[in-house]
């Protein structure tokens, strides 16, 4: 009897000591292969009846894909990647046999994060790390024009992927400037704080602050010393209880829309963090994927999954005071042994809804699309590309999270792996040392609905100096259903 009690106690202790004892083991950490990127579809596991092959390789930071009216595929290269790499973003046509033809190139204001072809033109979201985010129109012969601009994208997150609605509007996500609304030393690590020392988040509507401030050692050489910083304010600017911050549009952490012919962005919904993926379901409802909080900066938030949201017009989704519909009102979401985040807003616009699905913490659940017909199967389900964790910078994980394509039944939130690397453990091919998936960034069904294209960003190692993305390691995969 006594022994049994002792054993149970031991089991419990054994079970509750992993997290603190083990160090972070993310998918970009440890021994990562960066000198080559072998490509082999046989290293990717799929449900029975599906096959996968690479249709383009050697891409530099690909992020999105679309098809023209003849069914030809086009891919965009971001031009900017974390790790402060600035290149020209590009729109490329995928030719039969794996060749790539350049259609257009942009300014060094990437990352280009999404592309759709609609009624004879391409529409591209330009992330806007240098000049702010834009929506571009590109004609098939490569003439480029700006149809909307001024999106607040100089910070951590950018203007995100887009989708065209049946109402003739382009819907797109806009990420926040910071992790949880307070500018801190983590933003200097990203690189932008030194470039834009006054930059911060912008709310979509007037907000009243609780007046919390956070003290850090200034990372800015021109402005050294201890600094106190409040929410929605420049680095080193404290706030007071009851202070009102004026809202405006375009704003941070929102879904907005512009007419196809261009114009001023209009607000659809806000309170997101980084709503990267966007798609209309077959029933016409709009969904976004939202990259959740990191365990970094002045106000770290721990253990929050990425979300799949159904977007309802005029609704606030909870950033920076809720996660997945749950309020920051107690010990929740504090790092073990750390302080739990407290609300920054004195009043909340509405009680946020609950998500459609909650995906892996730090999985970086990004581009998505819906299966529309029976020809591919899983009709009506959302397919989501998981870029994979950026541990330890984003937070600690015990093993790699993401690096695969999952499918979600939006009626009940059940998430199932669809395309995942073979092997006893999960992770990118560069860690598992085979020819499978690296970092899936976007997925897109072909117009006939029979195949799923996976845009694989390529190798991104996490080093002491930050992310180290590898050029020319991007791949486009095509998953087809066997005729049987």
């Amino acid at each position: 009897m006594k022994n049994q009690y002792f054993l149970s106690l031991l089991i419990l202790i054994g079970l509750s000591s992993c997290y603190r004892t083990l160090s972070s083991e993310g998918g970009g950490q440890g021994d990562i292969r960066t000198d080559s990127r072998p490509v082999n579809g046989a290293d990717i596991e799929l449900p029975s009846g599906y096959t996968v092959e690479a249709v383009a390789t050697g891409l530099t930071f690909p992020t999105g894909l679309t098809f023209d009216e003849q069914g030809r595929a086009y891919v965009i290269e971001a031009g900017y990647a974390y790790g402060e790499v600035f290149l020209e973003p590009k729109l490329l046509r995928l030719d039969q046999g794996g060749g790539l033809t350049q259609v257009a190139a942009g300014q060094k204001n990437g990352p280009w994060t999404g592309v759709v072809f609609h009624n004879g033109n391409f529409y591209v979201s330009e992330g806007g790390q240098m000049e702010g985010g834009k929506i571009l129109r590109i004609t098939p012969d490569g003439a480029l024009s700006t149809i909307a601009e001024g999106m607040p994208s100089l910070g951590d997150h950018h203007t995100d992927a887009l989708a065209v609605g049946s109402d003739g509007f382009i819907y797109f996500g806009q990420g926040t400037a910071t992790n949880s609304a307070v500018v801190g030393t983590d933003n200097a690590d990203f690189g932008w704080l030194k470039r834009f020392p006054d930059y911060h988040d912008v709310p979509c509507d007037d907000i009243t602050l609780t007046g919390q401030n956070f003290t850090t050692d200034s990372p800015l050489p021109d402005n050294p010393g201890k600094k106190s910083t409040g929410a929605y304010s420049p680095y080193g600017t404290p706030t007071t209880i009851g202070q009102v911050i004026k809202g405006r549009v375009p704003c941070s952490g929102a879904v907005m829309r512009v007419p196809l012919e261009g114009g001023k962005p209009e607000l659809v919904a806000w309170g997101f963090r980084n709503p990267f993926g966007i798609a209309f379901a077959p029933d016409g409802k709009l969904y976004v994927t939202d990259n959740s909080y990191d365990e970094r900066g002045s106000r770290p938030v721990w253990g929050t999954g990425d979300y799949l949201w159904q977007v309802q017009s005029g609704t606030w989704y909870g950033w920076p005071d809720y996660s997945g519909g749950l309020a920051f009102d107690g010990e929740k979401f504090g790092k073990p042994g750390g302080v739990a985040p407290k609300p920054l807003l004195a009043r909340h616009p509405n009680k946020p809804p609950r998500p459609t699905a909650t995906l892996g913490v730090h999985s970086s659940s990004n581009g998505m699309d819906f299966s529309r017909g029976d020809s591919f199967g899983y009709q009506g389900q959302a397919f989501i590309a998981q870029f994979g964790d950026m541990a330890p910078n984003a937070g600690k994980v015990l093993d790699p999270v993401g690096f695969k394509v999952v499918r979600v039944d939006v009626s009940n939130g059940i998430i199932t792996d669809f395309a995942v690397n073979k092997g006893k453990e999960n992770g990118p091919a560069s860690k598992l040392k085979h020819g499978g998936l690296e970092r899936p960034m976007a997925v897109k069904f072909s117009p006939d609905g029979q195949s799923l294209y996976i845009v694989d960003f390529g190798v991104m190692q996490m080093t002491e100096q930050g992310p180290a993305p590898q050029q020319k390691t991007g791949v486009v995969w095509k998953v087809s259903r066997n005729n049987n």
Binding site: S17, C18, G305
Partner: protein
């Protein structure tokens, strides 16, 4: 002697507790959801556990799809949240839902491999 035995056991438990385990679709057979408790448990799991134990595998937290731990230990872990894990009280996961969740976790552990990898 007794101490050495304890330490050994502890070490063993730690390895078992903190190991990784890939045990989901598509490598493994889908979990049979014809039993209503398992089907409902799958929804509970996806709502509350999936973010840190994706598919029962290691993620932010350790794998739970390969643990020999008896049901009462898992229940204790869920209700009290030992270590870094948050607790889930009965206002969040009702006793009925907890039963369903356990049925699902047990089914997850029994999943059969259908592909070589």
């Amino acid at each position: 002697m007794r101490l050495r035995y304890t330490l050994l056991l502890f070490g063993l438990l730690f390895t078992v507790a903190c190991g990784t385990a890939k045990r989901g679709e598509p490598t493994y057979a889908p979990i049979p959801t014809s039993e209503p408790a398992i089907a409902q448990g799958e929804v509970v799991f996806n709502t509350y556990c999936q973010p840190c134990h994706p598919g029962g595998e290691t993620g932010l937290g350790p794998a739970i799809n390969d643990k020999p731990a008896p049901g009462f230990v898992i229940r204790f872990q869920i209700r009290n949240g030992l270590g870094a894990m948050p607790a889930f009280k009965k206002e969040v996961i009702s006793p009925e839902k907890l039963d369903d969740l356990l049925a699902y976790i047990k089914a997850q552990r029994k999943a059969k491999k259908v592909k070589a990898s």
